[in-house]
Symmetry: C2
Subunit: 406 residues, 2 copies
């Protein structure tokens, strides 16, 4: 496929354009076998790439969003809890347990259908890579089947899926009197059953969930099974999560709403990616994470949705970019990088989140002339075309290109 | 058409259900000749309405959004100004002038195409009634052709359009030395040319735009031509706009970011609808309007997008609802009422914004079980089906109903 007549191409590769975003005007991009094979000037594609030409009509093209933190495998709905929180009730980690009950009661088919629905929804907003966690099963079998559900919905027409084991999301009700016993279950039989279906091991290190020692045990057990490590850290208050992430060499620490300067220094020193989740802060009326302090300290920042039914039931990476600009004080360049290449860094996915020869041909044609419009036009559906593996997998109804083809 | 199997119907009519929203579970709604003709229980439709049956699949149905404040007739783009503001530059009313230059240079066809594009975008997010202002022409001919452009795009497949004359948006550059001369132009030849193409007369009463005396002159001249009155008031700071709106008996005062208790009491006393525009406050980092104080004082509140290229380039009424809940402290019930019936009150459109026999059959089938989801799922495209005048004018790609029909 040749994507021609690109008004503004964001390659995220300084070799291919200006600045960190590798901005290039009046560009074209060719792909073959699911990968980018050539980037150059509009109208100047090499012979042999013109067969399947898509006209970007002067619009902005960027790498598909890499949403590196979601919880798509669940059942049920917590709209009433959300409405109660709007009316003043506080969020507590224990709210997770109501989704656990619904998830355990749901069939495998129901879990797959719900996760697929949300993955489609994300795709239509430009997400081409999606991390999906377990964590609402909290038994050996329910955690395993949650991850298997995520594996089974994989499809070339959906975002690329990456699975994370989060058996240590919260201590389930039946283990409330024996949290250490639950940690032994997680680090033993549960991980044995789940590790074959996951790339990553995560833990919710927070008051009300798991303390530093318990979290360390979970992460070490995950590492022993060959999983990469990530941590839910410092969401509800100050705590040891961020420092633990650095200590164990986690790829990413996520949330980070409450960070001291010392925490930030430790993350920077260890090279841990800070994954910020403004949808949570919006939906729970929490303070906004100290994104500028993290950037100024040299920490790599990723942006993700945390799509889940309790604290951030949005799949909209464009809105995450808009919040990051408005509430975190990021520039549109910083926010777009964090929502694409930043997510790929958090997931250690080489090439994803960039558009350069060899990278996956996963991209979005925005129905707008620049990436600034993601913040400038909040909540407006702007994904005109979404391409995954070199194939158009979504086009906005009435998209200009679609009309040309019709 | 019979819309059956509605999980939750929001009628905005207490006669047809519970509370101010007139909530009714397991409902059905029949329409004929573009109007609602019957509301009752699911599966119990009277004979003769079943011919053209649409299955709402248990989802939530609400009146289409009434977006009572937009500026869709313009040319150009102010993304760079927006990015500069993110980086710390202040918003000033004079920014309007850059859009004026682009609008004057644009052809009628270009103005129509841009307005139509945005009206389609709004429709796809559930807006079925759309107020559209002039105000980027600021000459007799450019104001007139702006309103004519809005008239000419009217189409049964777009939202119902209501036009507002806003020649007194800002003093154009060429009249900077003679603002009173410009007011004489507006109140004389410009209104003569524009009034036949408008239902409303509006004025931007603010430092940097028009003072109270100038604004009063514009409104009185509009009233003399038979136009209804509305006022841009108290956006950038305290000022006389809200009190002027009450004094002249305007239908609505819009923005109202900066209000004293005395202003609020005057609005309540006069029965002026307060149209709040959270997209502006989001996009300009302004304080949030005192929505709760207005509601607590008994003022009728409407919510609108203010879709315009300078201060709020969003067409998303669902996001406006989400902001109103998060930032204004409205309940989802209050916000949804304000975004539907509230907008209709601001535009004095009897029946619009409600679903009861005799009302226009303008509605949205949300791809969600409740209206709470508009706030609970921020920025997610949730308009499953949009019905205008009893006809499906938009269906989300892959919508369940659409799949059934295919």
């Amino acid at each position: 496929m040749l994507l021609d007549n690109i008004g503004l191409l964001i390659s995220n590769d300084p070799v291919h354009g200006e600045g960190r975003l590798g901005l290039r005007r009046d560009a074209a991009l060719a792909c073959a076998d699911g990968r980018v094979v050539w980037i150059g000037d509009a109208g100047k594609a090499p012979e042999g790439t013109a067969g399947d030409r898509v006209d970007a009509a002067g619009r902005c093209v960027l790498p598909g969003f890499v949403d590196s933190h979601t919880h798509l495998v669940f059942a049920g709905d917590r709209a009433q809890e959300f409405a109660a929180r709007l009316a003043g009730a506080a969020y507590a980690a224990g709210g997770i347990r109501s989704t656990v009950a619904a998830t355990r009661a749901a069939s495998d088919a129901a879990l797959r259908a719900n996760a697929r629905r949300l993955a489609v929804e994300a795709l239509r907003q430009g997400t081409t890579t999606l991390e999906v966690k377990s964590g609402y099963g909290l038994t050996v079998d329910d955690e395993r089947r949650s991850l298997v559900a995520a594996e089974q919905i994989a499809h070339p027409g959906l975002p690329h899926l990456v699975t994370t084991f989060l058996g240590a999301h919260v201590v389930p009700t039946e283990s409330a009197d024996d949290p250490d016993g639950y940690v032994r279950l997680v680090t033993g039989p549960m991980l044995d059953a789940c590790a074959p279906h996951a790339a990553w091991c995560d833990v919710f290190c927070e008051d009300g969930a798991f303390d530093a020692a318990q979290s360390r045990a979970v992460l070490e057990a995950g590492r022993a099974r060959g999983l990469g490590l990530r941590v839910h850290a410092n969401q509800l208050g100050p705590g040891p999560g961020a420092r633990l992430a650095a200590e164990v060499g986690a790829s990413a620490a996520d949330h980070l709403t409450h960070l001291s300067d010392a925490d930030i220094a430790v993350l920077a020193e260890a090279g841990v990616v800070a994954t910020l989740l403004p949808g949570v802060e919006f939906s729970t009326r929490a303070p906004w994470a100290p994104a500028r302090r993290l950037l100024d300290a040299g920490v790599t920042v990723a942006l993700a949705t945390d799509c889940n039914p309790g604290t951030s039931y949005t799949s909209s990476m464009p809105m995450v970019v808009a919040w990051a600009c408005r509430e975190y004080g990021l520039t549109p360049d910083e926010a777009v990088w964090a929502a694409t290449a930043g997510g790929a860094a958090a997931l250690a996915l080489e090439g994803h989140g960039t558009l350069r020869p060899g990278a996956p041909a996963d991209l979005v044609v925005l129905d707008a002339p620049t990436h600034i419009h993601l913040a400038y036009r909040p909540a407006v559906p702007l994904a005109g075309l979404v391409v995954r593996g070199g194939r158009v997998v979504y086009s906005m109804p009435g998209d200009r290109e679609k009309e040309q083809q019709a």
